[in-house]
């Protein structure tokens, strides 16, 4: 079942084309890794799917609802972690999550049950009464994830969910995403290539707004060129890094 779909998305900011004809689908049960260099158009694509930005042309669908023409229905099915995991700095974690739950239409009782479960799952109990601005990066990111999961959405769009986390926290976040995966369609953007192998069923590579590859991690690996021994002596790279460099630098350049 297709839960996320984009059709020939184009987004221009003035003369700059941030997203250039991106088309892909994500089914239930898939975790799609969104890869690309900085400024490749990953976040812009995600913002369009979430309905925060309007595409210059093309369409984006969440669970069959056009995120422009039917935004409220699309957003009901969507959990979105924006870049940088923002939240209101002067609210406590508890007050913020209760606010989001209420805005998502959960009744008081439902919200209480759901939040109790989430606090357990994302491990927020110790910061429940702390103000968001006083939290460490790891906790902020977890609050962002909790906020996106409040209404148990079918679709999760997570913009760099592990950015700024320490290795243990990264591991926990990946575990969480894996456990959520079977019942949802998840799109995760990252620059960390090992993450793709760790959690993704499929990887989409974009650079300069163009979709360059849409394949399983194994297929991507197969596209890696023979390692150049000269280069390997200086900095050792993984096969996936070689593949990524090959696709984003050489393909985009040609």
């Amino acid at each position: 079942m297709v839960l996320v779909e984009t059709r020939a998305l184009v987004k221009r900011f003035g003369a700059f084309t941030a997203v250039d004809g991106v088309t892909f689908k994500v089914n239930r049960g898939e975790v799609v890794g969104f890869l690309g260099p900085n400024g490749a158009g990953k976040s812009t694509t995600m913002k369009i799917i979430a309905g925060f930005l309007e595409p210059t042309s093309g369409e984006a669908f969440v669970a069959g609802h056009d995120s422009q023409t039917d935004p409220v229905a699309a957003r009901r099915r969507l959990g979105y972690l924006p870049e940088g995991a923002p939240a209101y700095p002067d609210m406590t974690v508890g007050a913020f999550l209760e606010f989001v739950a209420a805005m998502r239409g959960l009744s008081r009782a439902d919200a209480r049950n759901r939040l109790a479960e989430l606090v357990e799952r994302v491990d927020l109990a110790e910061v429940w009464n702390r103000r968001f601005e006083a939290l460490s990066k790891g906790f902020k990111r977890r609050v962002g994830i909790a906020q996106a999961l409040v209404h148990d959405p079918d679709v999760l769009i997570l913009d760099e969910p592990t950015d700024g986390l320490d290795p243990n926290q990264k591991h926990e976040m990946r575990e969480l995403i894996r456990t959520l995966a079977p019942n949802k369609a998840i799109v995760v953007s990252t620059h960390i290539l090992e993450e793709v192998e760790a959690i993704c069923t499929r990887a989409i590579v974009i650079a300069r707004g163009k979709l360059l590859a849409d394949a399983t991690p194994a297929e991507l690996l197969a596209r890696a060129p023979e390692p150049d021994p000269e280069r390997q002596r200086l900095v050792r790279t993984t096969r996936l890094e070689d593949a990524f460099r090959h696709i984003t630098l050489e393909t985009a350049g040609s």
């Binding site: 309905g51 409220v72 979105y80 924006p82 002067d90 609210m91 805005m103 998502r104």
Partner: protein, 244 residues
């Protein structure tokens, strides 16, 4: 619960999360009563009314209302929370109205805290309380108009200072609309009807009629429709930023 009300509650509580609210209320009370006693010579007038108090409200609001309204959208944009807010399953107008209501309620609170002045004039003499009530209502509506303009301008930027300055400038045009400063700039080239239309947009003109004791439809309709229009523009500003 109603989404607009939820936004209202969060936003209203937001004013009190920092010392900002206390500072604002103190400044508002100090300046509004200070003007009444020292500039407008409340006692020397020897009259039991609050004319000296309400006289300054358009000027006071010109600076203080943008200070309340500047953060409404600019802060969301700066901190990135606007992305959360705008991807919740709600319509933009629900957010716009909720935020404006919170600012308006806060202005109402500031106004309500001036009640000791009203008690004082009732102690000193027997004022026309009908006029005073009408003036309070008029003053609150005018505050709402300033706030709607400030909210709308706040939606255009992530810089609160810019939002403040923009709102003061826009407010100034409305305050001065009935004065020659504005009218003489328009008169040479615009037909008479336009000049009159601009003159009739004057905050001071409408407010003065209310404080004179005439709480009539035209002034009420003026402020209410200005609020509705500014909030509608606010929604448009948010929509336009999506396509930008």
């Amino acid at each position: 619960m109603n989404k607009t009300l939820l936004v209202f509650r969060r936003e209203f509580a937001g004013y009190f999360a920092t010392p900002l609210a206390a500072v604002f209320l103190v400044v508002f009370l100090a300046v509004s009563t200070g003007m009444t006693f020292f500039v407008a010579s409340f006692f020397d007038r020897g009259q039991a009314d609050l004319t000296a108090f309400f006289l300054w409200h358009p000027w006071l609001y010109l600076v203080l209302m943008p200070a309340i309204g500047m953060r409404l959208w600019a802060e969301e944009r700066r901190s990135g929370t606007i992305e959360l807010l705008m991807t919740l399953p709600v319509r933009p107008w629900q957010l716009v109205v909720g935020k404006w209501l919170a600012a308006w309620a806060f202005a109402g609170l500031a106004l309500a805290l001036t009640a000791p002045l009203w008690i004082t004039v009732n102690y000193l003499g027997s004022p026309d309380n009908g006029v005073i009530l009408a003036s309070y209502i008029g003053s609150w509506l005018m505050a709402g108009s300033f706030l709607a303009i400030a909210a709308c301008i706040s939606a255009l930027t992530k810089n609160q200072v810019l939002a403040f300055i923009g709102a003061v400038v826009a407010g100034f045009v409305f305050v001065m609309a009935g004065f020659d400063l504005v009218l003489s700039a328009v008169r040479p080239w615009a037909p008479d009807i336009i000049v009159q239309a601009i003159a009739s947009m004057s905050f001071i003109g409408h407010f003065q009629r209310i404080t004179d004791g005439v709480l009539e439809a035209p002034a009420l309709i003026f402020f209410t429709s200005l609020i509705v229009f500014a909030l509608w523009l606010n929604v448009q500003a948010l929509e336009a930023r999506k396509a930008a």
